[in-house]
């Protein structure tokens, strides 16, 4: 089983990296770009047959993969 976790800054928190990329895209002529937010993707390979896999991955997100003070997370799981 595989889990894909997307961690990104909470809405409203300054993302200087995203702003720099948005500005570069504008300079390149991509005038339609209104905003860019940058996060990270964490791919986790899990043992098969774990009943509470989603609960376990959520615990991982809450305990280390994200910092709830500044970040939010989203989990996708799929059978491998």
């Amino acid at each position: 089983m595989n889990a894909k976790v997307v961690v990104s800054l909470k809405d409203g928190i300054l993302d200087p990296e995203g702003q720099a990329v948005a500005s570069a895209l504008g300079r390149m002529g991509f005038d339609e770009v209104k905003d860019v937010r940058i996060g990270k993707v964490i791919e986790i390979e899990l043992e098969d047959g774990i009943a509470d896999a989603e609960v376990r991955v959520k615990q991982m997100c809450e305990q280390i993969l994200s910092n709830p003070v500044i970040e939010k997370f989203h989990i996708q799981t799929e059978q491998s």
């Binding site: 800054l9 200087p16 990296e17 280390i64 910092n67 003070v69």
Partner: protein, 240 residues
């Protein structure tokens, strides 16, 4: 080792790089400074702990994120709970934020640059273990060196910290705090914060780099000496 000097540990992680300066600085300030490796915290009795700057675990995931689960952090949590002084500088501050011993979080610098220069900070509170050598409003010239020192706390947390006197330092220019004196975009120009009890301090500026005239400033001495004195007094209080 002399008996009247407090024993202050310096917690060393893979990637710490200010540990030697911190050990030297604590000795200058009047402590027995003891290196404490992150997974061997059997050190005897420590009166205080310093978490030095650097890039623990390569800053992987987030600054301080992996270090927070090191064995030595159990000892540091216990020391913080007991009321012993704990000082985190730069990456040490980031680690204390990740552990939740201090409120808030750390973001990349507003302008995406690594900033390495001497700044001025203003002492905002004397209700902690690191300010007994100084007066509120004192300004200090102390170097910063960080890419992620943009301190963030939400408005509710900031209000609580202000009412509890937990904002230890703000970036300033000749004592004046303003948008132009904020090097990294930190909420309210905050350069250092304490826990509610005042015995845990995290700060981005490096006091251990401002202890000798040859380095351009001795303004860090007050902070380090305050910690040493507080280690002596908290030891006496704990051992009563």
């Amino acid at each position: 080792m002399t008996v009247d000097r407090p024993n202050i540990g310096v917690a060393i992680f893979p990637g710490s790089n200010c540990d030697a300066d911190s050990l030297h600085g604590l000795e200058l300030a009047g402590a027995n400074a003891i290196p404490v490796w992150h997974d061997h915290p059997e050190t005897g009795s420590l009166d205080g702990m310093m978490i030095p700057g650097g890039f623990s675990y390569g800053d992987y995931l987030r600054t301080g994120a992996i270090a927070q689960f090191s064995t030595v952090m159990d000892l540091i949590r216990q020391m913080a709970d007991d009321g012993r002084p704990v000082l985190g500088v730069c990456n040490g501050f980031q680690i204390l934020l990740e552990t939740g011993l201090l409120p808030g979080g750390m973001l990349r610098n507003r302008d995406m640059k690594f900033i390495c220069r001497t700044v001025q900070i203003r002492l905002e509170s004397t209700g902690n273990s690191f300010s007994n050598q100084n007066a509120s409003g004192d300004t200090m010239r102390i170097p910063i060196a960080h890419g992620e020192g943009n301190y963030y706390a939400d408005p509710k947390t900031l209000a609580e910290m202000n009412s509890n006197g937990q904002v230890a330092f703000r970036y300033c220019d000749n004592g004046i705090v303003g948008a132009s004196t904020n090097p990294n975009g930190s909420s309210e120009s905050i350069a250092g914060v304490t826990n509610a009890a005042g015995n845990v301090l995290g700060m981005m500026p490096h006091p251990e780099r401002a202890l000798e005239p040859q380095l351009g400033s001795t303004d860090g001495l007050g902070i380090m000496r305050s910690m040493v004195e507080s280690c002596i007094s908290s030891r006496a209080a704990i051992n009563v």
